[in-house]
Amino acid sequence: MERRRFLSKFMSIAASATVVSGFFKRAVARTDGYDPKGHYYGMGIQIDKCIGCGKCVEACKEENNVPKEPFFFRTWVERYVIKKDGETSVQNTDMRIERSNEVFTERDILRSFFVPKLCNQCDNPPCVQVCPVGATFKTEDGVILVDDERCVGCRYCIQACPYGARYLHPERETADKCTFCYHRITKGMLPACVEVCPSQARIFGDVKSSASPLGRFKRMNKLHVLKPSLNTEPKVSYSGLDGEVR
């Protein structure tokens, strides 16, 4: 009897201690001088300027150690050819995986353009919602990152992304995706893809800074996002996005 009472008291104390410590706020101080609260990043893409050279794809792979095989992309460029007969043909600009030998003559083409794609760093990200261990999260400055050490490789986030932006890193067996070159932007540099774009089709910016190319882009263009009906609130906006683009 006495033992039982003691045991139950001990249990209740231990249980409440755990609960209380969970709520205990510990200060998590930054030590490196960069304050994420002062920034909120976004990107703009001008379809009418993209020449489809693919330098952004190469630079991204180089900068971020993405496997060079054509099955793992943090960013890629799609080519759309809308023909006069109403059909739309979409191809990848990475010719290693382009299977079709379809040739277009100017006679058939109604409209044609290139569309760069990447992780949209959504503000309402479905990938963050579904991660069972919380390995993927949104930082205070708006970038979605993956915790390599906690990802269990269940691939749920890859299934949940409507844009196909994620892949499983073949060596680390964890989910990977574009991080807006977080290691560069936090030092005031541009993401690698923006850096090397020859035609300034990609515009990177900080929504919290007062004057920026991104601000002008948002003022002077009618903007679209990909798959708006899914309400993912993407932070990558497109100008000149054709209705055929998915």
Binding site: M1, D48, G52, F113, T179, H183
Partner: protein
Amino acid sequence: MFLQKMPDALKRVLAVFVLVAAAAVLVRVVLPASLTDSRLHIKSTVEREMAHPVRYAGSEACADCHEEYKVKQGGYHKNLSCETCHGAAKEHSENPSELKPKLPRMREFCAGCHTYNPSRPSGFPQVNPAAHNPLKVCVECHNPHDPKPTRTPQECSACHAEIARTKELSPHAQLECTNCHTVPQEHKLAPRSVRAGIPSERSFCGKCHSKDSGRKEAPKVDFLTHGEKYLCWQCHYPHMPEVQ
């Protein structure tokens, strides 16, 4: 007490459950915060991300040592980052004498951007590499840091390749671009500041296509009734006019 009334079987089962629950609580309490606190995980992930090595130095890094940067600022490649062509150069900027970035001189390299592709935007200079001086290296004639055509282009197709090729396949193939467009000489030197002009009236097309025109081979319509509210090119694409 309540416990005394409880059947023996239930007591044993509850004892097992209490043990399991206690073990779970103990594990949770004993584990260090680094394993359980999400905020610490996030912090360490952010730190790891920020610690990734930077490979592209950024355009301004080259300006300190290389004159070509200033040259580039004045030409058509001014928006091109040095590293777009020379590759990742952060290592070079830290160890300039030992590690050199690449120096692409092969035709295939320039052709990567400048080969004709109908999906490329109009106004972007494109060539057919097989036909355009195939035996020479591009940089022989064009300074990559201030690329200009060797001569002021006579043909509009140098920058408007897709339109030119479309026109080639159409009934208007025999027409020069300048037949319809007014092209000031400055447009060839500063294309974005000085634009070419388009005709402003239906009667322009009427020069060939109205009933009293001299051009025998051009299809004729009655300009008083045909599409009277519209300018011709609001329906017909002049570079590939639709033929019935």
